[in-house]
Symmetry: C2
Subunit: 226 residues, 2 copies
DNA sequence: ATTAAATAGTGTATTTTGTACAAGTATATT
DNA sequence: AATATACTTGTACAAAATACACTATTTAAT
């Protein structure tokens, strides 16, 4: 298919999750050029020759969201020769969880892209390349991680209610959880700091606010929810 | 460090585990050339331009061990620009578990290599590149997998005793397990076929032989040992 | 034939973890 | 004051994990 003398291109793509408008969303960019011109894709780019892969992924993340210091994990490397129609592009995919508040999406004068937007994970538009598969695999991985460590805290503000925390789990796992069991389990882990503050009851009964203790993962069995 | 016009090279390295002489071992090759001439390394090679990464890893595995149809899983992609002293080489690492019996190690007239040998995982020689890190990470992953699915069966012969099975778990997890609990748990999973055969008591009391049913993973919670 | 040595095999009691499930409490609104 | 809404809390049961010690079968030695 390709000449053996042709070289591989190596990129990184980053699946960026957030919770916005009560939905789990991923950041997508609209492609300005072929292949897949006009199609939505997950943000990505070439890995520079003297840059670690992690650094490249962080760079992509920062270009689009201006966010740094975030949970970013290498997901999988996708390298089917047919995943790109005209070149051999191997992509090392990452995923990240961020809070969507105080984030300004940007193109950064990037002629590669005509739009940047959050899209509901459970209702995606047609995507370029194998990006649908990449997102699905990310979601699977996030769910696995959630069983072991409360990475959902990346999605929440500094101070949050237990209901908000539970909601973030429900959005990721895509199922309802029992309120009493959820609280019991979480409080038993003693990773939450109970604050003496309450939501300024915009609605009904104010809810107590919590924050995370410095995260020290690996509780005995490490499992959270299944 | 490198000129931005220089291209990445992309390889795959495969950590191959086996149990031999009552020890958990990995397959290492001795490098014939610089860099790290004469040092031990895990087997690897360039990914061909029209080959999937999985296919490349399987090819490497077959070149060295003549084994096919084996549990092979992508581990992680290592891409630190400093991991190779003179080039930018990104490697997509895999790991595999195989039975060491009926395996003939081979160089396949490969001038890259002067030796191929099994080495105890818990007592490795100095290794080329970041291969020590890759092996350590493989081991971590194998342990994680072991909690969910009985991949240890890849290490055992067709017919085996419960003691042998337990031993393989103990070697990988590097700790003793309780015999009665181990058996109870495994038998409850009904993935074992109890045979009407026994070890031809080379030593003391003969032990019953078992084989695996067709593996259907994902029992309810999926966990085995911690 | 008896005994010793080695490995195989087995069951119960306790603790921990997971799950199912419903009523009372604090605030805002009317 | 009554009502609506979201917040908070505990117990009983089931399932899973863990701790723990003796008997059984064979070979080898006397």
């Amino acid at each position: 298919m390709f000449k053996e003398t042709k070289t591989h291109e190596v990129t990184t793509d980053v699946v960026i999750f957030t919770i916005k408008d009560g939905k789990l969303k991923v950041l997508l960019v609209r492609r300005a050029h072929e292949p897949f011109k006009g199609k939505w894709a997950i943000p990505g780019g070439f890995i520079r020759i003297s840059e670690t892969i992690d650094a490249a992924a962080l760079r992509i993340l920062k270009e689009k969201t201006n966010v740094q210091n975030i949970y970013l994990e290498q997901l999988y490397t996708f390298g089917d020769p047919l995943r790109h129609p005209t070149a051999r592009v191997i992509t090392c995919a990452y995923f990240a969880l961020i809070r969507s508040d105080d984030i300004v999406l940007s193109f950064e004068d990037n002629s590669e892209i005509t739009e940047v937007e959050w899209h509901p994970v459970y209702n995606l538009p047609p995507l370029a390349f194998d990006h649908k598969e990449i997102i699905e695999y990310s979601l699977k991985r996030v769910r696995e991680r959630l069983e072991f460590c409360p990475i959902a805290f990346q999605l929440l503000p500094e101070k949050f209610t237990l209901t908000e925390l539970q909601k973030s789990y429900e959005l990721i796992l895509d199922k309802k959880l029992d309120k009493r069991n959820f609280r019991k389990k979480f409080l038993a882990l003693s990773i939450l700091k109970e604050l003496d503050e309450y939501t300024k009851s915009g609605s009904k009964r104010p809810a107590r606010l919590y924050s995370f203790n410095e995260i020290t993962l690996n509780s005995k069995r490490g499992h959270f929810f299944s």
